[in-house]
């Protein structure tokens, strides 16, 4: 498998400087510095509990940092009003690890929910066509009237991504997109992430510890070690090391 390469604009859409976050006495992030460039797929790797999900939750304003600065599309996230944060969130999509579909709503209603609340002037016909177009983009138009409980894990992930994409965000944040899925479905999700980047021109951060996914979707890889990004670069650059904190990761995924 070959790492993907895309023409990446050097314009920064996310800038993170000196980010710290603790939960009680446990210091999760200890001075994280990271940039995401326009139209780039950046994969964040790290062991469980190293703060990968915490990082993207801070980016989208679900958690507040203890120290440091997170600038998204030129706005410092923890210094803007709630109304401004809502406006910023329209431009930042977040795909949850467990999909977080609204389980009392059908697939159609799940996709309509963010759309009708943020674009109240849309007609019923426009809403319907937007929902159908997005479901078609993720290849699940046939599930439109099903409940989330009737879908497989892979389908739920796809619907979760479609619900996020319906607002046409500039940035996508994927939290463990392939977690808990079989290898074939993982490949489908990897293809979908690349398709999203190409079709919707998004910049993305993909949180994962699946190196197959990292290699397939990442233009750049950053490895979170001891609360900091100590290794960043292409997939090959990051793993060209004898660092015993990094090497077992590669060995487990590709040798075992």
């Amino acid at each position: 498998m070959v790492s993907k390469t895309t023409d990446i604009d050097r314009e920064k859409v996310i800038e993170i400087k000196g980010l710290h976050k603790s939960f009680g006495d446990y210091q999760v992030l200890r001075g994280v510095d990271l940039d995401l460039y326009k139209r780039e797929n950046l994969v964040v790797l790290g062991k469980s509990g190293t703060g990968k999900s915490v990082l993207i939750k801070i980016i989208v304003g679900l958690l507040t940092p203890d120290a440091g600065e997170v600038k998204v599309l030129g706005r410092i996230v923890d210094q803007i009003s709630y109304r401004e944060l809502l406006e910023l969130r329209l431009k930042v999509g977040f795909s949850f690890q467990n999909s977080a579909l609204y389980d009392s709503m059908t697939v159609r209603e799940n996709l309509e929910f963010p759309l009708v609340r943020n674009q109240r002037r849309l007609t019923r016909g426009e809403v319907n066509s937007a929902v159908e177009e997005m479901l078609d983009a993720v290849g699940l138009l046939q599930t439109i009237n099903q409940m989330p409980s009737e879908l497989s894990g892979g389908q739920r992930k796809r619907i979760g991504i479609a619900r996020t994409l319906i607002l046409r965000p500039e940035i996508m944040l994927y939290d463990e997109p392939t977690a808990g899925l079989d290898p074939i479905t993982c490949l489908e999700i990897n293809s979908l992430i690349n398709e999203v980047q190409e079709r919707f021109h998004t910049s993305s951060i993909i949180i994962t510890h699946d190196l197959t996914c990292a290699k397939a979707v990442g233009d750049r890889v950053a490895m979170l070690l001891d609360g900091r990004f100590e290794r960043q670069g292409t997939f090959e650059e990051v793993f060209a090391t004898d660092d015993q904190r990094v090497k077992p990761f590669y060995d487990y995924n590709f040798i075992q």
Binding site: V60, G61, E87, F94, R117
Partner: protein
């Protein structure tokens, strides 16, 4: 304890801020009114009817000692409207509706559905909390008067079978003893009880944590705290409205 109280007051403050500011979630409000009100009707009807029958049957011997069984319609009417209907309806709603709200929102919290609303630029507080609190505040008073009516029918059945009193006479005697103050006090109490059930259920669910254990705890706390507060509010309101009766 004081930290929690301050959180609850902040929560109520946010409700008043969000509920009356556009955009409004009218469709969701109607859905919640249907779920909370209409779907509670069967349970409320059964409880109200049985209460009417039992209360009348248990009161008769005491009144009969003084030869005052003709006062039964007035006694039942006043008791139902002033206390039994608001209290019964609210306690049933605290159990049925409060636990349901606590569990539903708690489950949405632990499965990140509330976070999903946040990140899709939707205000989950307005959609989930404001609508449920408003729906409780609107429907509990309506259910209270419905319980009073059903309870009176139960009482009528008992009185008609024992004394052969006609429905017209029964309702005439009952309604003559009910004052405007009784109706006002009952309405205010029911509004307060409904608001309490909504706020407690939503607060417990919205801030629940610790996975499935947290969901169970949220549902349980919604019922226990809700009922406790309703009893306290009942005692305070009885004292308060008593001032206007003397």
């Amino acid at each position: 304890m004081f930290i929690t109280l301050s959180d609850v007051f902040q929560f109520m403050g946010r409700f008043f801020k969000e509920a009356f500011m556009p955009p409004y979630e009218g469709r969701e409000l109607l859905k919640q009114c249907y779920d909370i009100g209409y779907k509670s009707l069967a349970l409320i009807s059964l409880t109200g009817f049985i209460t009417g029958i039992v209360f009348t049957k248990q009161s008769r011997p005491s009144l009969a000692e003084f030869g005052a069984t003709s006062w039964l319609p007035s006694l039942v009417g006043i008791a139902l409207l002033r206390t039994l209907a608001p209290l019964l309806t609210s306690l049933i709603a605290a159990g049925k509706v409060g636990s349901s709200i606590g569990a539903e929102l708690g489950s949405m919290r632990v499965t990140e559905q509330i976070d999903a609303m946040e990140v899709s630029a939707t205000n989950p507080f307005k959609f989930l909390v404001s609508t449920r609190v408003m729906a409780c505040t609107i429907t509990i008073p309506i259910l209270t008067f419905y319980t009073a009516l059903v309870g009176m029918l139960g009482a009528l059945l008992n009185v008609a079978m024992s004394e052969g009193t006609s429905a017209r006479l029964f309702f005439q005697a009952s309604l003559e003893s009910i004052t405007f103050l009784d109706i006002t006090a009952s309405t205010i109490k029911a509004v307060l009880f409904g608001f309490t059930i909504g706020v407690v259920g939503c607060y417990q669910g919205y801030y629940s944590s610790k996975g499935t254990e947290g969901v169970g705890k949220a549902a349980n706390s919604s019922v226990v705290i809700g009922m406790f507060l309703i009893f306290i509010e009942e005692v305070v309101s009885v004292q308060f409205f008593g001032l206007f009766r003397t």
